[in-house]
């Protein structure tokens, strides 16, 4: 990956709030950023390991609920007269726990992938998200059901000179999301460029062949699933402590679909894909707001996705690379000359 470009981009994003401090713009980009982190995580599973997991909202939601519950504390009766009681924990602790918990669920889903593949795996992952939604909707003792969990505490940071500051301003949230996003991006980048990453890609390309050369399929599937889920859980946790209210609708299929559109349109299996896709589909609602109704917006997204899948199936980022390469390619040698050159080569 191109480090200079990355560095410039991150710096630009970092100083953006000073250039343009409008809290609304910052909150829009912040929300888009959280979805981008989720898209980056989905890309690892979908793009690099080739597993079409369409229940990714489940990991996002589990991360959100786990973090919220840990930070608010809870007290539930799990039958047989046993109560499970947890005191409220500091937000960073809750956040870390949520990531671990979600990673565990990711491992479970990864295990399931060994048993079923392709379309069957897809359906299971979707069902998983729906079951999670039903549980969060109905286990009201734990999750408050449709009323949602409100007043979730925000992140706080100790800043020299200021003491402990609650990260509630839009700019603070923006930087927090940016920080986690950069970390997630770097993590995935390092992973795919390592031995483990190459093994995952081998899995995606041709599983039977990969197994035959000795790559432990199950291990790498599990690894990809765990890391993917953990990052998605982090996105969920971020969401919980910045929006500070969550309800069972975070598990809705439509959020998975949004992540999928971002990854697919941007370019699955590329590092920049989910970022590009995320920025476009994360910011489009705001650009189109007031211009067209939300339903029309979604029709546009749907049509965009279909068009990209039909004509640019690898996504926008690869298409742009191809385009740039095409521009830079020197004009081809005329056929006669190339034949002569080949013939001359053959003789010698």
């Amino acid at each position: 990956m191109n480090w200079t470009f990355f560095g410039i981009f991150v710096t630009f994003l970092g100083i953006f709030p000073f250039v343009w401090p409008d809290p609304y713009i910052l909150s829009v980009i912040g929300s888009a950023g959280i979805m981008i982190i989720a898209a980056i995580s989905l890309n690892l599973l979908l793009g690099y390991t080739g597993q079409l997991s369409l229940g990714h909202a489940a990991f996002f939601g589990i991360g959100a609920y786990a973090s919220a519950l840990m930070s608010l504390g809870f007290d539930v009766d799990i039958g047989f007269g046993i109560t499970w009681q947890v005191d409220p924990k500091p937000v960073w602790v809750a956040f870390a726990t949520a990531i671990v918990v979600t990673g565990f669920f990711g491992w479970l889903v990864g295990k399931l992938a060994f048993k079923v593949r392709g379309a069957y795996f897809v359906v299971i992952t979707i069902s998983f998200a729906q079951v999670m939604r039903m549980i969060s909707l109905n286990w009201t003792d734990l999750t408050e059901g449709p009323m949602g969990m409100i007043s979730i505490p925000p992140f706080s940071l100790w800043i020299p000179g200021e003491g402990v500051v609650d990260l509630t301003s839009k700019a603070a949230i923006y930087w927090l999301v940016l920080a986690v996003g950069v970390l997630a991006y770097l993590l995935v980048a390092m992973l795919v460029n390592s031995r483990q990453g190459r093994a995952m890609i081998a899995l995606r390309e041709n599983e039977t062949l990969a197994t035959s050369v000795g790559i432990p399929v199950t291990y790498y599937l599990a690894l990809a699933a765990v890391i993917s889920a953990a990052i998605a859980g982090a996105a969920g946790g971020l969401y919980a402590h910045t929006v500070r209210i969550i309800d069972p609708d975070v598990f809705l299929f439509i959020y998975t679909v949004t992540m999928v559109i971002m990854v697919v349109a941007g370019g699955k299996g590329t590092l920049g894909g989910p970022v590009v896709g995320g920025l476009i589909f994360g910011l489009m609602p705001e650009l189109l707001r007031g211009v067209v109704q939300p339903e029309v917006q979604w029709v546009i997204y749907g049509i965009t996705m279909i068009l990209i899948l039909l004509f640019l199936p690898r996504g926008l980022v690869p298409a742009i690379y191809d385009f740039i390469t095409w521009i830079r390619t020197p004009i081809a040698i005329p056929v006669r000359e190339s034949r002569r050159a080949l013939a001359a080569e053959a003789k010698s």
């Binding site: 379309a119 897809v122 359906v123 339903e295 029309v296 979604w298 279909i306 899948l309 039909l310 199936p313």
Partner: protein, 290 residues
């Protein structure tokens, strides 16, 4: 005992429409290997067509169901022709994502046209329930069951007794072999998608007067259709029909005796459990799943 009978009756009514929904998806998945996320949207389309015909054009209920089937067939054929023809269907991922795109477009078009408020479809039947002893059934539900049962039977005859049915079954078993013996696989694909979509649309038109029509009803319908298909086995038509009834029974008895709140969740739990323990479904012959 009467309570149980009542539940059985309810489950049979629901199951008959579920069976239609499930068979529609089975033939699409079985023959074309397309994971059709838009199936639920055809269901919704059927419901809204019925609503439009009855409430706005003042047509009678019965012909509105026919219309729903026709429009479902047309839209299904259109989708197959425009979007799926050009794609090598082996690319399961991309096809799936295209179907998701179509689902999004259809759902939001419906939202735009009909608005977000739920619509009640007036039926010509009285609301007084008919009673068989202590067991009650409303005339509407009885009608729904009859029509669904008739359609299932017609479908069965069509698949088993006609040349088209033979061609479809052949393609279902082995595409390439079917092609070799002269089956026009491309035409079969279009027919399959059209037929499957028509069945979903009819299921929607039938169930809508029992409940309500909302633009988002397709989401749940799609997922239940998948549950039915998986229950019955992705390779088996008879299995899908039985799967439809089975799911209805699980929902009805589960909701009444285990937890009414989790009614809609049973379908998903079923999927997960079946996938874990018997991934080829309850009725299919062994098929490589993993």
């Amino acid at each position: 005992m009467n309570e149980i009978l009542q539940h059985i009756v309810n489950a049979m009514v629901l199951g008959s429409t579920y069976a239609l929904l499930g068979i529609g998806l089975t033939i699409i998945f079985g023959i074309m290997r397309v994971v059709n996320f838009a199936h639920g949207e055809l269901y919704t389309l059927g419901a809204y067509v019925a609503y439009g015909m009855v409430a706005l054009l003042k047509l009678d209920f019965f012909s509105s169901i026919l219309f729903a089937a026709l429009i479902g067939m047309l839209v299904g054929a259109l989708i197959e022709y425009v979007f799926l023809r050009r794609k090598d269907l082996k690319n399961i991922d991309e096809v799936m994502l295209i179907m998701i795109g179509i689902m999004i477009v259809m759902q939001n078009l419906e939202l735009m046209v009909w608005g977000g408020v739920a619509k009640i479809i007036p039926t010509p039947f009285s609301q007084d329930p008919i009673s068989f002893g202590d067991v009650l059934i409303s005339p509407t539900r009885l009608f729904v069951f009859s029509i669904a049962a008739i359609l299932l039977f017609i479908f069965y005859l069509g698949i088993e007794r006609t040349r088209f049915g033979l061609a479809m079954r052949a393609t279902f078993q082995d595409q390439d072999a079917a092609r070799i013996v002269g089956v026009n696989v491309k035409a079969i694909y279009t027919l399959t998608f059209a037929l499957g979509s028509a069945m979903a649309a009819v299921a929607g038109a039938l169930l809508a007067p029992v409940f309500v029509a909302t633009p988002l009803m397709g989401d749940l319908a799609s997922l239940k259709a998948f549950a039915i298909v998986i229950l019955g086995g992705l390779g088996s038509l008879g299995g899908a029909a039985i799967g439809g009834f089975l799911l209805a029974f699980i929902e009805e008895f589960g909701a009444s005796y285990i937890s009414s709140a989790y009614r809609d969740a049973f379908g998903f739990l079923v999927i997960i459990i079946v996938m874990l323990f018997r991934p080829q479904g309850l009725f299919a012959a062994k098929e490589r799943v993993g």
